[in-house]
Symmetry: C2
Subunit: 492 residues, 2 copies
Amino acid sequence: MELVADPVDIGTRAPTVLLNEADAAELGVHALERVQLRRDGRTTIGIVELTDELVEPGTLGVTRRLGHIEGSVEVSVAPQPNSVYYIRKKLDGIELEADEIERIVRDIYEDRLADAELSAYVSASYTQGLSMEETMHLTECMANIGERMSWSEDIVADKHSIGGVAGNRVTPILVPIVAAAGLKIPKTSSRAVTSAAGTADTMEVLCDVDFSIDEIRDIVDETGGCLVWGGAVNLSPVDDRIIRVETPLSIDPRGQLIASVLSKKESAGSTHVVIDIPYGEGAKVASLADARELAEDFKRVGTHLGMSIECAITNGAAPVGRGVGPILEARDVLATLAGDGPNDLRVKSIRLAELLFECAGIDADATEILDSGQARETFREILAAQNGDPDVVASDLSPGRHTHTVRSDNNGVVTHINNRLVNEVARRAGAPKDAGAGIDLHCRVGETAAVGDALFTIHAESPDKLADSEDLVGRVDTVRVRHPDEALVDRI
Amino acid sequence: MELVADPVDIGTRAPTVLLNEADAAELGVHALERVQLRRDGRTTIGIVELTDELVEPGTLGVTRRLGHIEGSVEVSVAPQPNSVYYIRKKLDGIELEADEIERIVRDIYEDRLADAELSAYVSASYTQGLSMEETMHLTECMANIGERMSWSEDIVADKHSIGGVAGNRVTPILVPIVAAAGLKIPKTSSRAVTSAAGTADTMEVLCDVDFSIDEIRDIVDETGGCLVWGGAVNLSPVDDRIIRVETPLSIDPRGQLIASVLSKKESAGSTHVVIDIPYGEGAKVASLADARELAEDFKRVGTHLGMSIECAITNGAAPVGRGVGPILEARDVLATLAGDGPNDLRVKSIRLAELLFECAGIDADATEILDSGQARETFREILAAQNGDPDVVASDLSPGRHTHTVRSDNNGVVTHINNRLVNEVARRAGAPKDAGAGIDLHCRVGETAAVGDALFTIHAESPDKLADSEDLVGRVDTVRVRHPDEALVDRI
């Protein structure tokens, strides 16, 4: 059916089109079914909503995400995507073939899967697991879709943390250290999956993170590094759609995780990569054995792709740094670069930079680069190149003004700070979407706390979200304070 | 934030509300986040889409599903539903507590879960399974939400098929047989989950299926039975939302299946129920052992609820009847009641009715009731009571006019008709949403076929869907015809 596109001012995440009921009946489509929109030989998918009045018969209402569609459009019923059969197959625990994985990745890219179907794919990958073969295929398919960067240098450094640790904003400290040492490090980062902020969310507090590939090349040529959002450059566009479904459920299947990380590195042209694998109670990886296994899998897929990969297995049982949430973490980053941040964040950033130097065969001293102010200077150059204010200091940043401070109920020792709960509390407070939302930790594991001592402060931008977050805090044990005698044996 | 509701003419499956960008920014909500709408002390959930122009600041655009909301509404950020944690727990393979299951069921009922979250719940139940305890809790929670029917009779008969067999439209034949024998049988049916049509889809071809509880009582008092859609009477409203997510994936987790069936029976006030469990190649249950296990589970949950349950373990390896799809199946039903239908459908309907008579301790002859025309007369009364044409005959019905007939490529014997593929082909052709779409089978397992003999005809209402269906047929082996010598050993 030939319809004329007409913009409708509705902003939605899905590629929604509005059809008049009469046209929909003639086409034989119902609300939320998919239609194929063909124009100049190109095909896009639209998801149908119905109206009697908002659009006339003969007209196709295109919402904002499809705003580029103009003029006459051939609208037909979209075939059910074949990948639904492969998702079903995976739910049944059967290993997928390379071409089936490719079909799923392509259908995700072309918006052919509804949220419920995409969620079933992620759930299937999570509960049934992906084999090494599946993971390699998935990584290649994801890297092959979208744009790529290439560099003239033999060594292109990169870094990734698998996340799950609250705070842990190492990247914006490590990148300027590595760039100041003379290595190219075109770092693209994700937004948060299961944490309260990703590096892209945090950097966005200080500067733009949304650049084209050409702009990234200029920034990296000028400063040696960059700290940009990977989703904006379309390096692995499928990944961002998968993350969108994973986020509310806080799941991140292992094979999907490896494919997500390494497909982005492959597309970014990286050759030497250090991967931070935090493990321990409350981290994504529970045991040292699991962390080692994941590290081996990363190296194997990396080798398959021709990359040198080093994995740092780190302590993930407690948050790193003091702030959790975009603005609160940005404050830690600025302080650390100025020689004044949380010590654990400083030490971890230095160690990971050293590991990357070692992996790349470079002789440089990370501590010296940080302490001498060279890293800070490079960071200022990156901020300036990314349209930020290079002179920003930690005290310029204001976290959410609605606050609630949680205090100790007893006298004792802080025996545990629960990463998952810290992240959950910060997310309920609005992080990462509300940049000022999050948690400011006032204590560290092993410190003593007396009744009434402040353990952490929740910041929120909206009172509703603060209340929501307080509600969770009231029901769970985010920070455990135990009498020294009880610290060894925990009552659950 | 106080906003004034204003209807926006958009029909969507989700409870969508349109917010002006300015209001959304002030509330701190983003596209597709949930808001709580409070008015006269009652709370509903809305899912946010954004607009600059369609609604003014201060106004809440309510789409059709929320059309009952008028006047001033207190809009606030909805808390993240706790059931998301329990879904995650289930994905991790941990058994859920009764109160956690209740929370999930209640959040589904109150529209607090997005499609992606609901799909993760279904996927988790499918891959991790539900224990007997979980299934009992789930059944009770689902039965306790929504309306209930109660009857003065001691025996209220009911019937259910777990589905998966193409065609198999036994219910509209069995109900009038049972009602004609003097038993009350207030049958509510679902729409299709994984098949090309449910009984409700098929009956809708012949009469209304959408009645209130009071109307159902009148129909059953007048005729002894009814053939209505369960979703319309809100007996187990949660079930229909779950089915909506299961349908595109064609999954139906076992515990969810039992809860879905028995919660509806419990709410309908049924006391004696026969359940058809088809098993075999291509059916939902593959082996006789699995079918027996499922039958035992049904009986156990039934006993827990105080119901008498008999299970019929039937041959599910091939379609039952000739038509597959709403109109095509309605044609089989009318023919069978008139003494002229497919023999397998006739025999199965009689056998299940006999089993129900036995379960209820009633002395009646199902064959006699059918052959004497008593069942047909009762069916006519039910049609009339449900606003249908009682005089309708099979030849009055017209299946989709776009057709494609699949013919045999070789000379041999029909060794297998694949239920799943028959359903898939019919679904691609548009069934069940397009009532005339489906498959008309011209052969049965065991019959001989020569090159060029018609095996089945696909009917569709739209040429696009016919093409889509033909595309699938071209790639798979829906009906297997083998040389008699090869019939015993199949090459895969």
